[in-house]
C-alpha cells in the first residue's frame, strides 16, 4: 500500500508530469470559468494529444482539466450567477447572493477550501478503498439505483427554498422534459416531434445554460446601465470570519462524504452529488430560511461534494474499467489509444498509471488551492467590469460551448428557447435548480425502474423486500413525511404569527 503510494508520487513528481498536471488544472479552471464551455469539450479537443504523450502523462493532463473544470465552474456561478458547468448550478443558489452582498471574496475563498477538502477526501477514498468501493458499486442493481434516484428527487423538492409547491412543479417539469428521446425498453421515439436531433433527448447543457445563463443575462439587461458594483477588494474582505469557518466544517464533511459515495456509482455523477449535499444541508440546518440568501453552508457543501465526486468517479473507471460518465469514457479512450484495455487488472498490470494518476490528483488539488487563493482578487475584479462588455461575451461563449458538446446547431436553438423560459421563471419566482435535478434524475429513474420491473418479471414486491432497496425507499418515505410535517407546522405557525396584533412582531 505505502509502496504503491510512494510509487505514485515518484511517477507524478517527474518534471514532465508536474508540468502537465499544472497545465491541466490551469486550463480546466479557465475553461470551467467560461460559461457553457465544460471540461468535456476541452478534454475531447485535447484527446488527440495523448498520441504523443505517455499514457500516464496524458491521463494526468486530461484528468487535471476535468477536476480543474469542476472547481472553475463555481467561480462564474458566484460572481455572475452563470454556472460554468451544470453541477455548479447549485453553487449559484447561495454563492451569487453572497456576491451581491459584497462577500464574493469570502464565497470564492470558501469554494477553494471546500473544493480542496472534497478533492482530498476523494483522493483518500480512491487510494485506500478504491477496489472495495468499486465492488460496492457493482452490487447496486437497477432497483437500488431507482431507490437512490427517488431519494434524490425527494431531496430535490426541498432545494431552491421557498414554496414546496413551486419546487414540486419545477421537478415535475424537469421529469417531463427528461421523457423526450428514445425509450430504452422499446426503442420508440418519444416527444421528438419529428426532430431527429431529439432522438437522444434534450441536451442537459442546453437546458442548464439557457435557464441559468441566458435568463440571467436577459434579466440583467434591464438594469445593466444602472447597476455598478465598485467593490474594493482587500485581503481582509476575502477572508471568511471565524463564524463562517465554523459553519463550513460540518457541510464540508457531509458534502465530501455524499459526493465521494455518489461519485463512485457509475452514472450518478457530480450534478446529483452537488444537489444532494445542498439538500442535506437544508435538512440539517436549524434556520432553513438563510438558504438561498447567501448562506456560506450552501456554497461549502455542494462544492466539496462535486469535487469529491469528481475524484471518486475514477474508482469504477480505473479499478473495474466501467466509466461512469462521458468524460470518464474519454479518459479510457486515451488508454485505449495506447493499446491498454481498461479493466479490473489495470491496477496490477499498470501500477504506475493507476498510482501515478492518483498521486497527481492530490498534487493537482494542491495546485488548484495555491493557484486560486491569490487569483480571488482578480476574479472579483470581474464584477467591476461593465456588464455591457461581459454579457455579449457570455452569450457568445454559451453558444460556442453548447454547440461544441454535440456539434449541433439545433442545441444552440434550444438554448434560446430555454433562455426565454428561464427568464419567465425568474420573473415569476420559480427556481430553475429543481428542474435541472428532475431532468437529470428523471430518465435514470425511469430506466432503472423499468429495468428492475423487467428483471423481477413484474413483481414489485421483490423490490420492497430487498434489504438495500427497501431501506433506501424507506428513507425517502421518511424524508417525505418529515417535509410534509414541517410544511404543515410552518403553515400553522405562520397563521399564529398573523394573529399577533401589528407592532408586536
Amino acid at each position: 500500500m505505502w509502496e504503491n503510494i510512494l510509487l505514485g508520487f515518484a511517477t507524478a513528481m517527474t518534471v514532465e508530469n508536474l508540468m502537465y498536471c499544472f497545465v491541466g488544472v490551469f486550463l480546466g479552471t479557465f475553461i470551467g470559468v467560461l460559461p457553457g464551455l465544460g471540461s468535456l469539450a476541452a478534454i475531447s479537443m485535447l484527446l488527440p494529444m495523448s498520441f504523443y504523450l505517455e499514457p500516464t502523462t496524458a491521463l494526468i493532463l486530461l484528468a487535471g482539466i476535468y477536476y480543474g473544470g469542476e472547481y472553475g465552474g463555481s467561480i462564474a456561478s458566484i460572481l455572475l450567477n452563470l454556472p460554468g458547468t451544470p453541477s455548479a448550478a447549485v453553487t449559484c443558489l447561495d454563492g451569487n447572493p453572497m456576491a451581491k452582498q459584497g462577500r464574493a471574496g469570502v464565497a470564492l475563498f470558501v469554494t477553494a477550501i471546500a473544493s480542496f477538502v472534497g478533492g482530498s477526501v476523494g483522493v483518500v477514498a480512491l487510494m485506500g478503498f478504491g477496489p472495495s468501493i468499486a465492488q460496492l458499486g457493482l452490487s447496486f442493481g437497477p432497483a437500488d439505483y431507482f431507490a437512490l434516484m427517488l431519494l434524490g428527487l425527494v431531496a430535490a423538492v426541498t432545494v431552491g427554498g421557498g414554496s414546496l409547491v413551486k419546487g414540486l412543479i419545477m421537478v415535475v417539469l424537469g421529469l417531463l422534459l427528461g421523457t423526450a428521446g428514445t425509450d430504452v425498453t422499446s426503442g420508440e421515439f418519444r416527444y421528438t416531434f419529428g426532430f431527429l436531433e431529439l432522438r437522444d433527448g434534450v441536451s442537459l447543457v442546453a437546458i442548464a445554460m439557457g435557464l441559468f445563463g441566458i435568463a440571467e443575462v436577459v434579466s440583467s439587461v434591464r438594469e445593466a446601465g444602472t447597476r455598478k458594483i465598485t467593490e474594493k477588494v482587500t485581503m481582509r474582505s476575502m477572508m471568511p470570519t471565524r463564524a463562517d469557518m465554523r459553519r463550513t466544517v460540518g457541510p464540508m464533511a457531509r458534502g465530501s462524504s455524499i459526493g465521494g459515495f455518489l461519485g463512485a456509482l457509475p452514472g450518478a455523477g457530480t450534478v446529483i452529488a452537488a444537489f444532494l449535499a445542498y439538500a442535506t444541508e437544508i435538512r440539517v440546518a436549524k434556520d432553513k430560511t438563510r438558504f438561498g440568501k447567501g448562506a456560506v453552508e450552501g456554497v461549502a457543501a455542494p462544492e466539496s461534494a462535486n469535487n469529491a465526486a469528481a475524484q471518486t468517479a475514477f474508482i469504477p473507471t480505473l479499478t473495474i474499467g466501467i466509466p461512469g460518465s462521458a468524460t470518464m469514457s474519454i479518459m479510457l479512450g486515451a488508454l485505449m489509444i495506447h493499446g491498454i484495455t481498461p479493466g479490473p487488472l489495470l491496477v496490477t498490470d499498470h501500477p504506475t498509471i493507476f498510482w501515478g494518476l492518483i498521486a497527481s490528483f492530490w498534487i493537482g488539488n494542491l495546485f488548484l488551492l495555491v493557484l486560486n487563493i491569490p487569483l480571488i482578487g482578480l476574479w472579483v475584479k470581474v464584477l467591476q467590469f461593465p456588464y455591457k462588455y461581459i454579457y455579449p461575451v457570455v452569450i457568445a461563449l454559451i453558444c460556442i460551448g453548447v454547440f461544441s458538446m454535440r456539434t449541433s446547431v439545433f442545441d444552440v436553438g434550444l438554448v434560446v428557447i430555454f433562455g426565454g423560459l428561464g427568464y419567465l421563471l425568474q420573473r415569476t419566482g420559480y427556481s430553475a435548480a429543481p428542474l435541472i435535478l428532475g431532468f437529470v434524475l428523471g430518465p435514470m429513474l425511469e430506466e432503472n425502474l423499468r429495468r428492475a420491473m423487467l428483471m423481477a418479471r413484474g413483481d414489485a414486491m421483490r423490490m420492497v423486500s430487498d434489504p438495500v432497496t427497501g431501506s433506501i425507499l424507506g428513507l425517502s418515505a421518511a424524508m417525505l413525511i418529515w417535509a410534509i410535517y414541517g410544511g404543515v407546522r410552518n403553515v400553522i405557525r405562520s397563521r399564529q404569527v398573523k394573529d399577533i396584533p401589528p407592532g408586536e412582531t
Partner: protein, 330 residues
Amino acid sequence: MSNTSNTITRRALAAVAMAGLATLNVGAASAQEFPSQPITLVVGFPPGGSTDVVARILAEHMTGTLGQPVVVENRPGAGGTVGIAHVAASDPDGYTLGVSGVGASILVAAMGRDTGYDFDAELDVVGVMGTLGLVIAGRNGLEATTLPELIATAAADPEALSYGSSGVGTPGHLAMEYLLDEAGVEMLHIPYQGNTPLMNDVLGGHVDVALLTTPGAAEQVRAGGIVAYAVSSPERSPLMPEIPTVAEGGFDGYSATLWNLLVTPEGTPDDVQAALSEALNAAQQDATVLEAFASAGLAPTLTSPAEATQFLEDERALWSGVIEQLGIAE
C-alpha cells in the same frame, strides 16, 4: 490557394465527364491534387468510445499517407445516425468522410426507423475499417460453463435466464435473438443504454447473460469477473483464443460481426475514393496500427471501394434476414 486548386480539380473532372473520357491520366493527376485541405472524419459516437478510438488510430496514420490532417469530428447521437446524416448532406468532394457502423449502415433503417438519409442513394462506401466479434458472457455463479449447457438451461425453464444487450435493435440484441431463435429457446431481454451499464450489471450479477464487445470482455474474463461462453464471429478472437465460436458450439453457419465502414457522400469522384481507399488500406497494414487493432480485438479488412460495397450488401442480406425472421421490425 486551396480553393483555386479545388476548382481546377472540379473543372478538370467536368471536362472529362463531358468528353466522355475516363482516362487514367487525368484520374491520376487529380488524385495527386487530392487532398489539398484538411479532411474531416465524422464519428457518430462520443469521444473515447470504441468507434472513436478506431477512427482516431486510422485517421492518425491516414494523415501521414495523405499529407493533409484527417481530423476526427464527433457528432454523436441516435446510434451513429446523426453523424452519418451530416455526412450524407455534405459536399461529395472527399473532404467530409464518415465512420458508419452496423447500426447506421443497416440496422436502424431495417428496423423501420427514420435515419434522416437513404444509405444507398446518398452515400458511397470506400472501405471497411476492421471487423470485431461479440462475446456471449455470463455472470459468475451460473451453472452452465459452455454454450450448449447455457442453451439447455434456457430450454429447461424459459424464465430461468435473462440477457442484456446495449439496446433495442443493436447488433448484440439481434445476434442473441438470432441465436435463441436457432436454438428454439427463450431468455428475457433486458436492454441497456450502451455497453457500460450492461457490463456493470453482469459483473454485479444483476443480469445473467450479456453480449459484450471483445476487448473489454476479455479483460473482465481474465480477471474472473465474468465467464465467456462463445464469440459471435466466424473465427475465434485472438484476444481469447480458448473461447469457441457460436458456430463451433453447434450452430453451423452462425456469424454476427461488428464493423465500421468508411463512407463519403454519394457522387464522390472515383479517383478521390481510390486515394482514400489506398490510405485506409495502407493504415491497416502498418505495424503500429496492427498492434493497436490487435489489442482492440479488431481484424484488419482490406477492400477496394467495390469490394466494400459488396461487403455491405452481404451484411445487409444477413441482418435484414435476421430482422425479418424474428419479425421485430415495425
